[in-house]
Assembly symmetry: C2
Homo-oligomer: 447 residues x 2
Amino acid sequence: MDLTNLHALSATDAARVIREGVISSEQYVAACLARVRETDARIEAWAFLDPDFALAQARAADQHRLSGQAIGPLHGVPIGIKDIIDTADMPTENGSPLHAGRTPSRDAAVVTLLRAAGAVIMGKTITTEFACGASGKTRNPHDPAYSPGGSSSGSAAAVAAGMVPLALGSQTGGSTVRPASYCGVYGLKPTRGLIPRRGMSRVAQTLDTVGLFARALDDIALLLETCVAYDEGEFESSPRAHAPYRAVAAEEPPIPPTFGFVRTPHWDRVDADAKEAFAEIVERLGARVEEVELAGGIEQAWEWHAVIMESEVAVNLAREWDKGRARLSERLRTRIERGRAHPAARYLEALAQIPRLNNGFSELFEQKYDALLTPAATGVAPAGVASTGDPVFCSLWTMCGLPALSVPLMSGANGLPLGVQLVGPRHGEGRLLRTARWLVDTLRPRA
Amino acid sequence: MDLTNLHALSATDAARVIREGVISSEQYVAACLARVRETDARIEAWAFLDPDFALAQARAADQHRLSGQAIGPLHGVPIGIKDIIDTADMPTENGSPLHAGRTPSRDAAVVTLLRAAGAVIMGKTITTEFACGASGKTRNPHDPAYSPGGSSSGSAAAVAAGMVPLALGSQTGGSTVRPASYCGVYGLKPTRGLIPRRGMSRVAQTLDTVGLFARALDDIALLLETCVAYDEGEFESSPRAHAPYRAVAAEEPPIPPTFGFVRTPHWDRVDADAKEAFAEIVERLGARVEEVELAGGIEQAWEWHAVIMESEVAVNLAREWDKGRARLSERLRTRIERGRAHPAARYLEALAQIPRLNNGFSELFEQKYDALLTPAATGVAPAGVASTGDPVFCSLWTMCGLPALSVPLMSGANGLPLGVQLVGPRHGEGRLLRTARWLVDTLRPRA
């Protein structure tokens, strides 16, 4: 086994060779930490990273395996955790000076699931302020003059740079799919309610979803299988049979999938490069894709999303607003001010659109398309780190709670990556991943 | 069998003698209709009642039984349905001239369950305007100079007068427990989410609950067993094993139950008669009851309930407000205006109190009390029909989604009935009914 690029192993491969004893978790984690030392000075993906503690976890995993006990599907594999997701043994500062030094007493539910699967919690990754305010310090690994996207900035960048094979993020607007697109990795925002959110900082409870990052589709499926659980405290969670995402994702589609190409009412915001890249994809897919005009009234969906998000943010950050307004960014203060001004009736009207919109999408998926195909972002990453880019191509799907996956298939004229976004029906993650694989296999050989 | 008072049979007894062929459904329904003719001119409980159609349903039930087919637990038993609950074969006018002549195309989910159980849908009972506005015409069967309470006015009155053994109502504030108290019948507001609401006019989705009326505890248990179902479209509904409410309610408590007597911060609104009646009950229960001081901050709960209810009413009646404001009552217009003025942040803050309050109540039930004991209303029914009375002793339990039962155990100096309200833990209906039976058996012999 060639150990020179050990950090570049996928989580799936790493888990297998660790299980088989070909390498130790300590070797793999050490390789990832070496990669951090090598690259992170210019990327700054981490809010907290203690190499010794990561290695200690890896050694414990190795001893556990050698003792002959059963091991989980992520045994010895390191993962980065967005710094809005609580960890009992590391700080969780939510990207705000107001929460500096905050150390939760309990793991978030999803962290508990990861530990039970044997994962090594590598560290906490940079988030924008409360996942909805000012940018963090992280830069794009492909070119540090550009933004990695946000709010899951550090998670996307750390995975893209090879510092970890996996990371958790979150999405309330476009916080997973967009940074995945900018950083050239896979980013999955699953069906809302599928992964428990308990212990994740609440941005907007109607919208918040745990997001997953990886450099390989297999790894997304593996991570998803680990993170799915029922939480009876969650309004959109329900007990479900265990879904074999990895097996389904690995299957050949019984017939080649059909795609609905969605421009959305915001196509004019897409830059020329991205429009060209999409034209090429649509041309190459030929009869497998047709353009979908979303139903009338959809133009308002972005406004509804904003009303829901701002109203809930204003309440969820009320304590910070009351006690530390001066230490909130201007951007976040504006958002909270807008939220405080929305009438309850307007909020409730916006909320009532979600099932209405979903009825329309259910029909599309049942009758016509395996997935909707749409940009993950308006183009490649924006220059500088002041802005994490425009989430306009994500918020509709987030509002509807539909699974959305950024697939790193394209690039702009400057060589920066650009994702294709695939959107599937609620709880259709297995088929969505299978469809994504088909798309990659079909387009990549000639891309 | 003495047929002179056939209408006075309980639903449980009627269902049994119909099943055994002692009487026919037609005889029983005819007796109930005779009672309607005799009493309803002064009570006016019905928004729609077609005696021929009720008899036709009864004859069909009799033929069905005679054909040897399986029959349901309510086979041939008539029930009144509050006129905000849709019926495919009768109008549903929601107590408003704006909906005059409205004929739904489908039965509400709970009506479907009743028909499947063999019930005869007797007719539609008077509701206040949209179950939250102006009073209807119904008067108290004990004395037509008094209100029957509301909003489920006709359901409570029809059951109390012996026109039907059972009726469905609803509760968003105090619309089942209060009229049950004023009319001297049992009224159960079950755990929110237990009975499907699909096809019931939406007043305030966070609060709306289907309510049950009967003159006997057995009948409440029988009706509850019929009406419980999972509805995956409902946020508080979950699939549950069938609960044998009748069997549990009929059991002797393993040890005598303990009650927590709750005055609430609104005890000063209780009239002198009711205070005296409660003092007597507390004295007679002796060591079986202790007074409970609700936790600090509870004073605000009534305001939170109002914010939630008004905000949601404003949205749910937005079409009526936009198109027919002049035909809404002044009372309802004021309510909607208040609702339109609430900020989303205030609404969301109120919503966030529900789980917080429930945590407190869960502890009380787990550690100390079989049921909380509290007034069902501030006193006996108010004079006149302009007001349906004060729901102040109901809204807290409605907001928390806890099961609440009015037990007809007391009366005022003028002889009008007055209920004791028992409140139990979520999904504790079986034990709550068993506790109620113990209370009735214990107090009635000397009352």
